[in-house]
Amino acid sequence: MLLKITNTSKIAGLAIFLGWQDVRQSYRRSSIGPYWLTIGMAVQIGALAVVFGFVLRNNLAEYLPFVATGIIFWTFISTFLIESCQAFIAAEAIMRQIPLSPWVFVGRVIWRNLSTLAHNAIILPFVMLLNLGALNANLVLELPAIFLVSFSLLPLGISFAISTARFRDLSPIVISGVGIMFYALPILWQPSLLPEKIAFYLLGLNPVYHCLQVLRLPVLGKIPTAENWIGVIVFALLNWLIALALLKMSKRKLTLWL
């Protein structure tokens, strides 16, 4: 409240600080904190690999890393989208007293989820033991991939947070949408199973698919296609345009909706 924070680095600094506080919160009164989520996820991945591996007779060495990367990165994307709806509602008390940039609160959500992603990533080395041959230098692409996907999700989160502050009904809609998306994306099933034409409509036009691919492929030793990178960049541009328009429209009314 003392200084109206407008400067980007200050916004990012505060968002990261608050995001860390959320992570620390999950460690309080718990010895392993957020790793409980990781354990739950590891069990889920193991169960899926066993069931689908045996039922569909997939090669486990190939299928397990595929499912593990799918679940881990999808959890990052989907949890961020669901939680960003509540970003302003959860910060109501702060927003009604201190004039801070709305980006602080969505930045906090993305930082918290990036941190959870880092916790969950501990599963990957174990899974890759099954398929060491796949690991290669393409792994370095993971960093720009995470940066680019976060950059494209952040403004989508702002749009969701603004819209949910005004229309609370949006939150359950996003939750169902994310649930449907889980099946529509190649998380459990290999995209090569789809006929080409269907693959184009179902996957090629789905920007979230491209986000998932750029995050997942480098870990599996593959290079995401140009189409994947372009998909994420177009997604980012669209999200930024919509978010900036919504912010401009709602700026003076946002706190009244809380």
């Binding site: 409240m1 109206k4 309080r28 008390a93 702060i94 007293q97 201190i98 003076r252 706190t255 009244l256």
Partner: protein
């Protein structure tokens, strides 16, 4: 006395609350402005408008200088975090630079006399200790324009006197004070000017001695 802003029933079962309307005033350095009015007269809405978190739907607000608000002193307190962490959280929210955090923490340790309790989670504090911490952190600011919703009085007899002294220091260091209150004695003592709100409109604006007798009815 009329309470509440005016309600505008609109289409589609939507009701708009006009919490404030036709409000116009300016404040200059040195003024201590008391805001009075019944429940729902628009006092808190006006304070939020001055705090820069609400914006008018028509007309404009121009604020020069930094604004600090003491509307909710417990803001941002995390009961699971310890005292030191809570000081850090609040300081970050208030925009206090990292470099000043250590000095601030020491100062709050001395003022609150919470001692080793600052190492424990705030949930283990008594409500009085909780208020000491919240009060100390909230009043660590030095804004040009200070906004208060009622005078703050916290803790036991001894602490109340210390708190009073700290609050007066804060008020004296601010250039303009806005305080909403129902306490006549306080308004007479502190304020140089009174804004009387009724139904979201400005009913009177002037010196305390002219307005307070009319408002309190004697």
């Amino acid at each position: 006395m009329a309470t509440a802003g005016r309600l505008d029933p609109q289409e589609k079962h939507q009701v708009n609350v006009n919490a404030l309307s036709d409000l116009s005033f300016s404040a200059i350095e040195g003024e201590r402005i008391g805001i009075i009015g019944g429940n729902g007269a628009g006092k808190t809405t006006l304070l939020r408008l001055l705090g820069g978190v609400y914006f008018p739907t028509s007309g404009n607000v121009s604020i020069v200088g930094t604004v600090g608000s003491l509307i909710d002193i417990s803001l941002g307190i995390n009961p699971e975090a310890n005292g030191w962490e809570n000081i850090a959280i609040r300081a970050r929210l208030l925009g206090i630079p990292k470099s000043e955090l250590k000095k601030l923490s020491e100062e709050i340790l001395g003022f609150t006399q919470l001692g080793d309790f600052l190492d424990l989670p705030v949930r283990t504090y008594s409500s009085g200790m909780n208020m000491r911490l919240a009060f100390a952190v909230a009043t660590a600011i030095r804004p040009d324009i200070l906004i208060m919703d009622e005078w703050l009085s916290v803790g036991d007899e001894e602490f109340q006197q210390k708190a009073e002294k700290r609050l007066i220091e804060l008020v004296n260091s601010s250039k303009i004070l806005f305080i909403a209150s129902h306490n006549r004695h306080l308004l007479e003592k502190v304020c140089t000017r009174i804004l009387w709100l009724e139904g979201g409109r400005l009913k009177a604006d002037g010196e305390p001695k002219g307005i307070l007798p009319a408002y309190f009815g004697s």
